[in-house]
């Protein structure tokens, strides 16, 4: 008898950054620290609102919402190249 039961914390343990195919690149010179990207990020991995984005790439899935919503368009999605068979970038 197998039970699919786990302790909470799987969202921390599972590094969703592995799913990413595109990665956001921030032009910090253009950034106005408006916190839009930080509030929109579904993973909450864009750093502290009001400060320059500090992306946690362990969890960034590369969804591109930040680039879409940035009012000054300082975030660009770049193709990410990963080595097949190796975990994490």
């Amino acid at each position: 008898m197998k039970f699919a039961v786990s302790k909470p914390g799987t969202t921390v343990a599972i590094k969703t950054g592995e799913w990413r195919s595109q990665k956001p690149a921030v032009d910090l010179a253009k950034c106005i620290k408006c916190a839009t990207c930080q509030n929109y990020c579904p993973e909450g991995c864009m750093g502290t609102p009001g400060q320059a984005p500090d992306i946690d790439f362990d969890y960034c899935k590369g969804c591109g919402l930040c680039a879409q919503e940035c009012p000054v368009k300082c975030i660009r999605m770049e193709q990410e190249i990963k080595l097949v068979g190796k975990k994490k970038a």
Binding site: M1, K2, F3, A4, V5, S6, K7, P8, T10, I14
Partner: protein, 375 residues
């Protein structure tokens, strides 16, 4: 006593903690009676829900939190539960549910057949079919014990109207004896805010299949539990149950096997033919999930077996016939099928007399009581 009231009554004897049920014909009287019991203190919690998906989902949560749970539904209601049925069995939560078998839209029809439960056959639930009101009452009690022992949810299938709206004599099991028969439900992984757990979470490709293999193996081995609990029930309450009921099958050369209330008519026909010296028998497939293949092989192997079923699988042969054929393969049996009686279509005794007669000529594969194609 009204059979629906009796089923609700024994559910309270079984000390259910939480009921969530949305009314839908013909399971409405069970829901209605459960509600009446609840307001009179019959059990602690009745969750009023806006639809069947919520009913099964809230019971899934309640069961994970350690509550004994019960519901009743049918037809479109069961269809709406479809997704959550798989979640319930996948999380190994022993929810018990009465299913008042009815037809599926479209066209709209609220009368009896077994298409609703049959198309949930791969949902990982135990399915026990009842041929009369007494069996429905007795099976409800056993279902809790079986489900909780195996940690697999169970459906008690009873034909809509025939067994939900009928009034008849019921030997209502003694409340204290039921309490003694059914130990308290203990979920090994109780959802508790003080000790948080995640149930039924993500399983990666490396793990997922293991859970499915485990559920398949456990559902198969639940056959043994169903037999044990049926025997134990017999010792305590005087009515013993198994996976399949065989009536005059031992020396029979022709046997009709079916599930549900239509069994009773076929049994009458078979008995009348027996009295005339014909070697006919009849069997009731009580447990459809788990499917008792080896039991059928041992008892019906080599005979001409005809499956009467109230369901269809458009584009393929009817499901019970397919599985009986597989079970009896290689035994020298001829397996026949007559599918029909859909949406409450009635069969008279003559229909089954004709079937037994036609079996003499060899394999039968026909609609039952069809306007288009006469037998």
């Amino acid at each position: 006593m009204n059979y629906s009231a009796a089923i609700a009554e024994v559910a309270s004897y079984c000390k259910v903690d939480v009921v969530a049920s949305y009314p839908i014909t013909p399971s409405t009287p069970i829901t209605h009676e459960l509600n009446k019991l609840y307001v009179n203190g019959g059990f602690p919690k009745f969750i009023t829900v806006e639809a069947e998906f919520s009913a099964i989902s809230s019971l899934l949560g309640a069961s994970a939190a350690g509550a004994r749970t019960f519901s009743a539904t049918c037809g479109q209601g069961l269809m709406l539960m479809h997704e959550a049925l798989f979640s319930t069995s996948g999380m190994r939560l022993p929810v018990v549910m009465a299913v008042a078998n009815r037809a599926i839209s479209s066209p709209l029809n609220i009368w009896a057949d077994e298409q609703d439960a049959m198309c949930q056959r791969d949902s990982g639930w135990i399915q026990l079919y009842c041929k009369n009101g007494q069996e429905a009452v007795d099976t409800t009690i056993q279902a809790f014990k079986i489900a909780e022992k195996m940690m697999i949810p169970a459906m008690v299938c009873l034909d809509g109207f025939y067994l939900t709206h009928s009034v008849g004599q019921i030997d209502l099991p003694d409340k204290d004896k039921v309490a003694a028969f059914l130990p308290p439900y203990k979920n090994p992984f109780v959802l508790d805010p003080q000790n948080p757990l995640t149930v039924g979470a993500y399983a990666v490709p490396a793990d997922y299949q293991d859970f499915r293999e485990d559920l398949c193996a456990d559902l198969e081995s639940s056959a043994k539990t169903i037999e044990e609990v049926g025997k134990e029930f017999g010792k305590v309450f005087g009515r013993e149950y198994g996976l399949v009921e065989y009536h005059n099958c031992k020396d029979a050369d022709r046997v009709i096997i079916t599930l549900g209330s239509v069994y009773n008519t076929i049994e009458m026909v078979a008995d009348a033919l027996r009295a005339k010296g014909e070697k006919v028998g009849v069997a009731h497939l009580r447990s459809f999930r788990p499917f008792p293949a080896s039991d059928l092989r041992a008892n019906l192997g080599g005979k001409h077996v005809l499956v009467v079923e109230r369901d269809v699988s458009p584009g393929a042969v009817p499901p019970v016939y397919a599985e009986v054929s597989e079970a009896l393969g290689g035994t020298g049996s001829t397996v026949s099928v007559a599918a029909g009686l859909l949406g409450g279509r009635e069969a008279k005794r003559q229909a089954f007399e004709a079937l037994f007669e036609r079996m003499k000529q060899g394999k039968v594969k026909a609609w039952l009581c069809s306007k288009e194609k006469k037998l």
